[in-house]
C-alpha cells in the first residue's frame, strides 16, 4: 500500500494533466510539418500572428 502526496497544485497539471484541447494535437502535428518545411523561423511566426489571439491565429493560417 503506497501513500503518495505532493504539495504541487498547478492548474492544468494537478491532479492530472488536462490540456488536450483542440489546439495541442494540431500544434504537435504542425510542429513536425512546419519544422520540416523550415517555415518556423522568427519571420514566419510573425507572419501568422494576428491580433485576435495567438492560438486562434495558428489554426486560422491552416484551415
Amino acid at each position: 500500500m503506497n501513500e503518495i502526496t505532493s504539495t504541487r497544485s498547478n492548474p492544468f497539471v494537478d491532479p492530472s494533466v488536462h490540456v488536450w484541447h483542440a489546439e495541442v494535437p494540431i500544434y504537435l502535428f504542425l510542429g513536425g510539418g512546419v519544422l520540416s518545411g523550415g517555415l518556423l523561423s522568427p519571420p514566419a511566426v510573425q507572419q501568422v500572428e494576428f491580433d485576435s489571439g495567438r492560438s486562434e491565429c495558428m489554426l486560422a493560417a491552416y484551415t
Binding site: E3, T7, P25, L28, F29, G31, L35, S36
Partner: protein, 748 residues
C-alpha cells in the same frame, strides 16, 4: 486517428527534423534571451531576526521600492547560519497579510460581537490606562494580568513589572515546556533551554520521544538533525505516528500513546542490569544510583511490552544501540511536553536516562551554554511586589510551578457569586482561546473580565473579544530588544525595522512607553525609542554598534562546551549531584523516581480515539494559518485515521468529517480524512492551528478543525501545574450526516 497516433506521426516528423531541429535550436539560441532576472534583490538589505516562530533566526530582509521582496537567512547568525525554515522565508505573507489589524479599536457592541470603532491612538491608550487604573483603585495591581508570547512582549513585561502586578504569565510554560524544564532541573539543576542545549549534530545516537523534528521546524534543531544524519548517526524515534523523523529512523517504535514512561524505565533497566551505563560518570557525579537500580529492577522489557506495545527484543536492541554510542547518545528532552499530566516525571525519566548514558555535559549529548552579557539600559528599580501571583486557588499546589497561564484564566472567572481575583487582562501576541485547554472556560473568563486589552498583528479570536485592540507593527517594521540567548556560543542579535509600519500600526516598544506615560511610569521608560534603547545598551557594553547594524549579529569569544573541553561539572541540586533519586520530590509527597502507574493514562472508550496533535513545517500553530504564501503548501489540516480504523468506519480518504469528543463537544468545522498507515490505531492526529472562527481571518476562517475546542479535558501535572492535553478522545461524524441534520433543523 487516435491521439497516440498523432504523437507518433508528429514525432516521426520531429525525428526527421531533429537534425534540422538541433541546428535550428542552436540558431534559436542565438536569438534566445538570457534568463530573465526577477529583480527581487533589494536596494537595501536589512539584517534582523524573525518572529514567525520564537526561535529568532537571523534574517536578511530585501527592501526594494519600499517593499520587502524576499527574506533570506543571515549567514552571520549562529542560529540560522544563513538558512531558514519555510515560515521565515514566508514572512512577507505576514507583512502584507490583507487581514492585518490597521488601526486601534474600542469595542462598541457586546463583548464578542466584534463591533468596534476605530479610534485614535490617544483615545485607545487613554482608555487602556483608565481601565487599568480603575481596576487598581478598587482591587490593587494584583487584579491585573499580562499574558505574553513573542519577543516583543518584553516591553509589556517591563511595563507590568513597573506597574507592580505579580501576574505575568507565558503560555509557553504550563502549556508547553514547563514540565520538561522542571524534570531536568530536578535531575541536573538546569532546564533544557531554548534554544535547547542539545548537541544533536555530534550525537552518534539520537533518540526522539515524540519529538517530530522536520515537521517541528525549529531551524537550528533541524539543521543539526540533518548533520547528524549525514555523519551517519543512528536515529531512534518513539512516536505513535510515523513522522518525518520516524521515516528516517533506524528504529521507529510505534508506542502506545501515554506509555512512554514504561519504555524509558525499561531502557534504564537494561542499561543498569547489563552494566551498560557510564559507571565512572555515575560514580563521580550521581546521587541515588542504588535506589534507582532497585526501582527499575522489576521493570524489564517484558514488563514494558504489554504496556507499550513494543517488542522486548526491540527494547533491548535499542538500549544496546544507545549504550554503544554513549556518551554521544542524546535522548532529546523534547519541547512541547504537556501530554498526560505526569509530564514532569516523564521528562525526569529522560533526564535520568541521559545521566546513565553520561551525555549531560558531553559531546553529542547536552552541552554547557554561554550567554553574551550586554549592559542593561539604566532605569529605576522595579517596585517590590508583595502580592503572590494569582494562578492557583490553593497556594500549596504545584510547588515547583510558577506562573500558570490557565490558573490566571481560572482566577478570572466569577464562581458562585464569588468575585474573581483577576479583573483585567492585557494579552500580547497570544490567542488564548486556542492556546489554553478548555476553550469554554477561556471564553467564560473573558466575559467576566472588566477589561481585556489585546496587542496583536492579526484579528485573532481573542482580538474579537477585546475591549481595546492595539495593532502592533510586525517584526519587519519595528525594533525590539537585543537577543542574547544562552547557546553554544555567546552572541547578540539585533532586530531593526526594514520598512516603516503599515497603516496605523505601532511597535510594541512605543505602545508600552505610551501606556507607561499615562500610568505615571514615564521614569521607567527613559529611552526615546527602541532604537536608542538598544544602541545605548550596545555602546555601554563596548560593542561595535555600526558593525552590529550592518551584520545583524556580533559574537563573543567561544567558550568550552563539554567536560572534555574543560567545563567544570556542577549541578545546582540539593545534593550538588545528578539526582537519580530526588529527596526533594519525596519531601513534597511525589515519587522520588519516575514511576509507571498502571491505569494512570486511561484507554480510549469504545468507538473513540485519542486526539494527538502536532506541527506542520510551514506553520507556527494558529499564528501563520492565515498567511496565504505559507498556506499555498498546506492550507487545511486533515484528520489522520489509521487505515484499518478507517475501513471499519468506511471512511474514504479525503472524505470530510467532524470530530466529537468524550464530553460531547463537536468541532465547529469539518476537515478531510487522511487514511493512512502512519498512525497508531488507538489515536488520530491533527496539526494544531486550524479551524479559526474569527471572521477577520478571511483565509483561515472555517478552514480545517480546531483541535483546541476539542481539548475540553486536561490533566494537571501535580508537581508544576503543566496542563496535559493528550487526554481527549474523539469519534467521527460524517460531514454529510451532520450537514443533513443541520438542513433538517432549518426546514423544521
Amino acid at each position: 486517428m487516435k491521439r497516440r497516433d498523432f504523437i507518433r506521426f508528429g514525432s516521426a516528423g520531429l525525428t526527421a527534423a531533429a537534425v534540422l531541429g538541433a541546428a535550428r535550436s542552436r540558431q534559436l539560441q542565438a536569438y534566445a534571451h538570457p534568463v530573465p532576472d526577477p529583480r527581487t534583490d533589494g536596494d537595501r538589505v536589512v539584517p534582523s531576526f524573525c518572529e514567525l516562530c520564537f526561535w529568532k533566526c537571523g534574517i536578511l530582509a530585501h527592501v526594494k521600492d519600499g517593499r520587502v521582496t524576499k527574506i533570506q537567512g543571515n549567514p552571520n547568525d549562529p542560529l540560522s547560519g544563513g538558512r531558514l525554515c519555510p515560515r521565515g522565508a514566508g514572512g512577507t505573507g505576514l507583512l502584507y497579510d490583507p487581514d492585518r489589524l490597521q488601526r486601534p479599536m474600542i469595542r462598541r457592541g457586546a463583548r464578542g460581537s466584534q463591533r468596534f470603532e476605530e479610534v485614535s491612538w490617544d483615545a485607545a491608550l487613554n482608555r487602556v490606562a483608565e481601565g487599568m487604573q480603575a481596576i487598581t483603585a478598587r482591587h490593587g495591581a494584583e487584579a491585573l494580568a499580562l499574558y505574553s508570547h513573542g519577543y516583543g512582549g518584553s516591553w509589556f513585561e517591563h511595563l507590568f513589572k513597573a506597574y507592580g502586578s505579580p501576574n505575568i504569565t507565558h503560555p509557553s510554560y504550563a502549556q508547553c515546556r514547563g514540565p520538561r524544564d522542571a524534570g531536568f532541573e530536578l535531575t541536573f539543576g538546569e532546564g533544557a533551554g531554548s534554544p535547547e542545549i542539545t548537541d544533536i549534530a555530534h550525537a552518534r545516537c539520537l533518540v526522539l520521544i515524540g519529538s517530530h523534528l522536520g515537521e517541528n521546524m525549529h531551524n537550528t534543531q533541524v539543521q543539526d538533525f540533518a548533520s547528524s544524519i549525514r555523519a551517519g548517526g543512528d536515529l531512534i524515534v518513539v512516536d505513535p505516528r510515523f513522522s518525518t523523523a520516524a521515516g528516517k529512523a533506524r528504529h521507529w517504535l510505534p508506542i502506545k500513546p501515554g506509555a512512554d514512561l514504561a519504555l524509558l524505565l525499561a531502557w534504564m533497566h537494561v542499561l543498569i542490569t547489563e552494566g551498560l551505563y557510564d559507571r565512572d560518570y555515575i560514580a563521580q557525579y550521581a546521587y541515588g544510583f542504588e535506589q534507582l537500580k532497585a526501582h527499575v529492577e522489576p521493570l524489564t522489557p517484558e514488563w514494558a511490552h504489554p504496556r507499550t506495545g513494543i517488542d522486548p527484543a526491540v527494547i533491548r536492541q535499542t538500549a544496546h544501540l544507545m549504550a554503544g554510542a554513549r556518551p554521544a547518545t542524546l535522548v532529546h528532552p523534547g519541547r512541547h511536553v504537556t501530554w498526560y499530566g505526569n509530564d514532569t516525571q516523564r521528562s525526569r525519566a529522560i533526564a535520568i536516562l541521559n545521566g546513565l548514558l553520561g551525555s549531560w555535559g558531553r559531546r553529542g549529548g547536552l552541552y554547557s551554554s554561554s550567554q553574551l552579557e550586554v549592559m542593561p539600559y539604566p532605569k529605576p528599580a522595579y517596585p517590590t511586589v508583595t502580592a503572590a501571583i494569582r494562578d492557583r486557588a490553593d497556594p500549596t499546589l504545584y510547588p515547583l510551578g510558577h506562573e500558570l497561564a490557565q490558573g490566571i484564566r481560572d482566577a478570572s472567572i466569577r464562581t458562585e457569586g464569588k468575585e474573581p481575583g483577576i479583573r483585567g487582562w492585557m494579552v500580547y501576541g497570544s490567542n488564548l482561546p486556542t492556546t489554553l485547554p478548555d476553550q469554554r472556560a477561556t471564553y467564560r473568563a473573558i466575559q467576566d473580565l472588566e477589561l481585556l486589552v489585546t496587542v496583536d498583528v492579526l484579528p485573532m479570536e481573542i482580538v474579537g473579544w477585546s475591549d481595546v485592540v492595539l495593532p502592533e507593527a510586525t517584526y519587519l517594521e519595528r525594533w525590539d530588544d537585543l537577543n542574547t540567548p544562552a547557546y553554544r556560543e555567546p552572541f547578540v542579535s539585533l532586530r531593526q525595522a526594514a520598512v516603516d509600519p503599515l497603516f496605523e500600526s505601532k511597535p510594541g516598544s512605543w505602545i508600552a512607553k505610551e501606556l507607561g506615560k499615562r500610568l505615571g511610569l514615564a521614569s521607567y521608560f527613559p529611552w526615546n525609542d527602541a532604537k536608542e534603547y538598544v544602541e545605548t545598551r550596545v555602546r555601554a557594553t563596548g560593542l561595535d554598534w555600526e558593525r552590529l547594524r550592518k551584520d545583524g549579529t556580533l559574537r563573543g569569544s567561544p567558550q568550552p562546551l563539554y567536560y572534555e573541553e574543560g567545563v567544570a561539572p556542577s549541578f545546582d541540586t540539593e545534593s550538588g549531584k545528578i539526582e537519580l533519586y530526588s529527596a526533594q520530590l519525596a519531601g513534597l509527597g511525589f515519587d522520588p523516581m519516575p514511576t509507571f502507574h498502571d491505569g494512570e493514562v486511561e484507554d480510549p472508550p469504545a468507538g473513540y480515539y485519542r486526539l494527538l496533535t502536532g506541527r506542520a513545517p510551514t506553520h507556527t500553530f494558529g499564528r501563520t494559518t492565515n498567511n496565504r504564501l505559507l498556506s499555498e503548501v498546506f492550507a487545511e489540516n486533515a484528520v489522520w485515521v489509521n487505515r484499518a480504523v478507517a475501513a471499519k468506519w468506511r471512511l474514504q480518504d479525503g472524505e470530510r468529517i467532524y470530530l466529537k469528543n468524550q464530553d460531547g463537544v463537536r468541532s465547529t468545522y469539518s476537515a478531510p480524512v487522511k487514511v493512512t498507515e502512519r498512525i497508531h490505531p488507538d489515536a488520530v492526529y491533527l496539526v494544531h492551528g486550524y479551524g479559526h472562527k474569527a471572521k477577520g481571518l478571511r483565509f483561515a476562517q472555517a478552514r480545517g478543525i480546531d483541535d483546541a475546542e476539542l481539548i475540553t479535558r486536561y490533566k494537571v501535572d501535580p508537581i508544576m501545574g503543566g496542563t496535559g492535553m493528550n487526554v481527549n478522545f474523539v469519534t467521527f461524524l460524517r460531514a454529510s450526516d451532520v450537514d443533513a441534520e443541520a438542513a433538517k433543523e432549518v426546514v423544521t
